[in-house]
């Protein structure tokens, strides 16, 4: 196939610059002093004030607490989604049981249900349990997703040869041993992608954590909201917070961006 001309590269470069510029701009603003920004208005290069702004952010909101909370919540939720989805996906793809067809249809149907609209009763449940303000209130509703089950079922259906399961069973392995030694290793590529996407989604999630967590025990997006509520006009400060909260995911992107790309493209082909 012919290589494309310069117009294609030029247009793509413009798109990529457009997606990088706001991030660059946030670094520029976060590393200046707000008063400077108001006066000469148009610096295009970072200044030398980032660490001072960052220090003020750390003084204003419980930033380290929020970072730790985000790490705990995102890791727990992602690990749990991967484990339970693999387990259920394996059952749907490889085991025969009464009702499996309708149950899988139910799973697929629930993917389109906006469960976020159940916030009022969910909040009541959490209040009843005494979990409001606690990380458990954010973790527990995230432990499983219908998408995860569907994704793993799709993958495992073609990734695990049924003969292998048969062989393990004939050798006398019980059901769970068979899952552990045959299903789980085969699931690894799809499982790591599911982990990545769940991690990004949980890390960036705002609506429910904002409602159920208090100001003293926030996740990062909730802490950013507090920072803005307290210092809206001081853009340097607010954007220093935004930069600090985004850096971990930029690192993740540098390490696993390639996998994110192929995950999105595979999900699209299969649906």
């Amino acid at each position: 196939m012919r290589r494309p001309g310069w117009t294609v590269y030029g247009l793509l470069a413009a798109v990529v610059l457009g997606s990088m510029f706001p991030l660059w701009w946030s670094i520029v603003v976060a590393s200046h002093d707000s008063t400077v920004l108001a006066r000469d208005r148009f610096p295009l290069l970072p200044g030398g004030n980032f660490f001072r702004n960052a220090a003020t952010v750390l003084d204003t909101v419980p930033f380290w607490r929020a970072t730790l909370n985000s790490v705990i919540v995102s890791t727990t939720v992602s690990a749990s989604v991967v484990f339970f989805s693999t387990l259920a996906g394996y059952a749907f793809a490889k085991l025969r049981f009464r009702g499996s067809g309708p149950l899988l249809v139910f799973v697929i149907a629930t993917m389109a249900v906006p469960t976020q609209l159940g916030v009022v009763p969910l909040y009541q449940v959490m209040a009843r349990l005494g979990w409001t303000g606690e990380l458990t209130a954010v973790i527990v509703p995230g432990l499983v997703t219908a998408f995860g089950v569907f994704w793993m079922a799709q993958y495992l259906a073609q990734a695990v040869p049924s003969e292998l399961i048969e062989a393990a069973r004939v050798d006398g392995a019980n059901m769970f041993r068979t899952f552990w030694h045959v299903g789980l290793p085969a699931a690894r590529p799809a499982a790591s992608m599911l982990f990545l996407f769940t991690f990004v989604a949980t890390w960036t999630n705002f609506f429910w954590p904002f409602i159920v967590l208090g100001p003293s025990n926030p996740t990062l997006p909730v802490a950013l909201q507090q920072l803005q509520a307290a210092h809206f006009v001081d853009y340097s400060l607010v954007l220093a917070g935004a930069v600090l909260a985004t850096v971990p995911l930029l690192v993740l992107f540098a390490l696993a961006g390639r996998q994110l790309v192929s995950g999105i493209m595979q999900g699209a082909v299969k649906q």
Binding site: P114, V120, L224, Q228, A229
Partner: protein, 316 residues
Amino acid sequence: MPAPAPVPPRGGRRGRGRLGRLDSTVSPYLYIAPFFLLFLVTGLFPLVYTGWVALHDWDQIMGQGEFVGMANYVDVLTGRGFWRALSNTVSIFVLSSVPQILAALLIATLLDRNLRARTLWRMGVLLPYVVAPVAVALIFNNLFADRFGLINLLLETAGLEPVRWHSDRFASHVAIATMVNFRWTGYNALILLAAMQAIPRDLYEQAAIDGANAWRQFWSVTVPMLRPTLIFVIITSTIGGLQIFDEPKMYDQFGRGGADQQWQTLTIYLYELGWTRADFGMASAVAVLLFLLIVAFGVVNFLLTRRIAHDEGGRR
């Protein structure tokens, strides 16, 4: 759909007795149980129970009060807040979905060429996806600032009037839609790209032989072949778009959708009823109405695309 499962081993084979048989009948249910239990408790039950709460006088602190029938719905539907939030939500949704899907289509066709370093280009368009909507909102608040904002500065430099990005209702919707588009366009472009690559190349060759130029090929080969994927993208962006909260919530420091609620969306309205006014009954009524709205959009979408598919079939 998963491939047909293997025939489970018959009980008693190889000395595996009743226990082994129990293992193979019960295990599948144990494996799917965590998903169903957690989903029922944290997903389905709250959603269904919302309908029950909406029929009561229900205070966040005092709890369940009298059964009031449709009174909460009447209050919501006769008040000004709901309709304003509804029109803001739909306006922001249209401004974010239509240009976004067109741009994603364009970017996907660019990426579908035989590029050098193609993974790098793909990563480049996906970058905004890892930035949290809250952080995106903070950055764009600065770009769209009424005074000293970069965008207004550029407009003034070009000799144009600065736009009142916050006080002007439509302009605020444009700014919020821009944040959504920034984060999701590249993501959707990759989904469309994957579908484009699955189109058999000889369809293009045939069209070229029939004398179709690139533009013509795009509309009569690429777009029709992408229809299922386009429907998927449109439906997911409808479900998400009508529930938009983060970006408008963060568009100023008060988080109430503007001084005149000019960019207050339905979920912000829901939040305000439930957690500022502590009226869980009315908040639930809004949740139910928003749910019905999403279902209605889904049905209209389904009927429209089916109609288009049928027309297409008639012409062939």
